[in-house]
Amino acid sequence: MRRVLVGVAALAAAALFGWLLMTGLGRLLRAPAAPTADPVAEVPAVAPPTGPTAEGPKIKASLFLASEDGQRLVGVQQDVPLAEGTVAQARALMEALLAITAPAPYSSTIPAGTTLRGVYVSDRNEVFVDLDATVRTKHPGGSMQELLTVYSVVNTLLVNLPTMTEVQILIDGQESDSLAGHVDLRRPLRKNDGLIVTPEQKTQSPS
């Protein structure tokens, strides 16, 4: 009888331990803010980079827009605030790309109203760009247009941040299958030089 009691006690202890382990794990798993497995750094929310009109040092950046024929990307030069560190600089570049009024004859490839939710950088030099769902819901579709949208983001970041190697686009904080049904967004993407056309690059003064 005593043995049985000891057995029951041991079982109860094991069950309690298991329960603690499960709930503890659950909390641990909920903890990371970043949606990727890689260690990442997030832009401090308290210090958003200032807009292009603000005072302070600037860098000349190439922002990629749809070319005149609508089948390539053109790097348009624009002043973007200089930011401390890769993450903040990537965020400044993305905000400039989302806010740009495309100079004729070029056009923006990103649906109007798309907002930036966050930027992260992994220790494998991958940039993660988190956009809100507008980029998908307002997208006109078509694989050419989807390629231009994806690679205007990828190329803008990788051309201006040469130490970075790849970019992955997240939508609403989630890894996404694709934007408009074609391009595979489950992996980080490299720069696409094949899409870039280099005409006389127009310099745009800050508006």
Partner: protein
């Protein structure tokens, strides 16, 4: 104390059994037993989402007697014995252990066995040939000839055709009766799959007739028919019944009708060793509309129409097996599309799309094959470098050649690029290309395809002129012809490299 623990254990078990849910729903369907003696319906009971049959129902058709003893059921008949145990997947059939996909169930004094019990355990024990046709809910006993018939309906503006794929090869005759066409097979019964009919006025319904016939009830536009048969491979035959309007009706029809489909193979039907099966993927579908033209034309509709035309062309001219990843307007996940091609062991995978751009002037077709990103390349290298070693049953290990789902297409890039080149040639000759004719892109649907694959953008819906073209039958036919040309060329490449 011991008793208390026993009670607790029983309570816990009862709780587990309860939460597990013996969800039993009445199923109006029954399993039809086909034998020399005729048909007999055996009621199907659904337990835990599995189809079961009550053991006492087997007494009539199979002459079994059941005796319950010591938690088991002994089933005897024809001098053989089967032993069933409640909640066990294993049954003993004439001394041999047989595994079932679901356990034997005893409830309310009745015993139930999963349908697979019949062909796997009962048939072998009783020396009976039992063939379970799950989709048609048929159990065929003995050497009855019950061919499997998969029916498909294609409709055009001036005709409709019914294609019947028959496995194994079975002779059939078509005869016209008032208001209907009757297809009679040289068989004892039919295992028949009939799809939902597309909108058209040639066929009002397709239904199973008596025993070995299929009845095509004709619609208001039907005037005459013609039928042809072919044999795409050794194991199956194909019967095509084309329903035609009257000639006056044809003349009155506003758009000129497309040429009747040429049933005779235009390319000598030399058996190809490298190209036997083609899977065509009509892009988007269901909730996923794809691109949209200024007049409202939806990409998902155009891609399906062109895919259907291409299938008809390939089947009739090349005699290959062709499957579409979707037959109607439905949402299909990317992975399911390439998995469909892999499961059908396709030799070529073609994904059909229509394009869109912000500039309405852009037009022309484009062809894409996969570009491999770093992560994929690394994964592939890992897979190629190290064959995976797995522990084997009974000790030891075995080495397997692992093909990562994510990198399947990487092995076929060279052939895919050749295929893309042939498609470009074909499209350039008939419909014209955009300035960016062939490109590489990380397209989701191509990644998992374990065969040469390309994504074809057949034109720009955002261009008003091209939107109009893409909706016309003649233009769609030209696209299908271009892709057929490409496949003919690619076949010679595959035949050269085939073992």
């Amino acid at each position: 104390m011991r008793r208390m623990i026993q009670v607790l254990v029983l309570l816990a078990l009862a709780l587990v059994a309860h939460t597990d849910g013996w969800g039993q729903g009445a199923n109006p369907n029954a399993l039809t037993l086909l034998s020399r003696e005729g048909r007999r319906a055996l009621p199907i009971v659904v337990i835990n989402n599995q189809d079961y049959i009550a053991v006492d129902e087997l007494a009539g058709p199979f002459g079994t007697t059941a005796r319950e003893a010591a938690g088991g059921l002994t089933l005897t008949g024809r001098g053989r014995t089967l032993i069933l145990t409640a909640d066990q997947n294993l049954v003993s059939a004439a001394g041999r252990l047989v595994s079932l996909p679901a356990p034997v169930v005893r409830r309310d004094g009745r015993w139930y066995v999963p349908l697979d019990f019949l062909p796997r355990a009962l048939g072998p024990a009783f020396d009976l040939r039992l063939d379970l046709r799950r989709a048609a809910r048929l159990l065929v006993m003995g050497d009855l000839r019950v061919p499997r018939i998969v029916t498909r309906v294609d409709s055009g503006s001036s005709n409709a055709s019914v294609t019947l794929e028959i496995t194994p090869v079975t002779p059939a005759t078509v005869s016209a009766e008032p208001g209907r066409l009757v297809v009679q097979f040289d068989a004892d019964a039919l295992d028949l799959l009939i799809p939902t009919l597309p909108q058209q006025a040639f066929i009002s319904s397709i239904v199973p007739g008596d025993g070995n016939t299929v009845v095509i009830a004709t619609g208001p536009r039907f005037a005459s028919y013609r039928s042809s048969s072919s044999q795409p491979d050794a194991s199956s035959s194909r019967l095509t019944v084309e329903l035609l309007p009257s000639t006056t009706d044809l003349a009155a029809a506003a758009p000129p009708p497309p040429l009747p489909v040429d049933i005779r193979p235009s390319v000598p039907p030399t058996p190809s060793t490298g190209l036997r099966t083609v899977v065509i993927d009509p892009g988007h579908g269901g909730d996923e509309l794809g691109a949209q033209g200024p007049r409202g034309t939806l990409e998902k509709e155009i891609t399906l129409a062109v895919s259907r035309r291409l299938r008809t062309l390939i089947e009739s001219r090349l005699g290959l097996r062709v499957f579409l990843t979707r037959e109607d307007d439905r949402t299909v996940a990317h992975d399911d599309r390439s998995a469909f091609a892999n499961n059908h062991q396709a030799d070529v995978f073609l994904s059909i799309h229509a394009n869109a751009a912000v500039r309405p002037l852009i037009k022309g077709a484009e062809v894409y094959y996969l570009s491999v990103e770093r992560a994929d390349a690394e994964a592939r290298k890992r897979a190629d470098d190290a064959a995976t070693t797995l522990p084997a049953l009974g000790g030891g290990t075995r080495t397997i050649d692992l093909i990562l789902w994510e990198t399947a297409q990487a092995r076929f890039l060279e052939q895919s690029s050749q295929l893309a080149g042939f498609i470009e040639d074909g499209l350039r000759a008939r419909v014209g290309m955009s300035p960016r004719a062939v490109q590489q892109a990380p397209f989701r649907v191509l990644v998992g395809a374990n065969m040469p694959a390309a994504l074809v953008e057949i034109g720009y819906l955002s261009n008003p002129e091209q939107e109009q073209q893409l909706t016309s039958a003649a233009y769609q036919e030209r696209i299908a012809e271009s892709l057929l040309d490409a496949l003919v060329k690619f076949r010679t490449v595959l035949d050269r490299t085939a073992p």
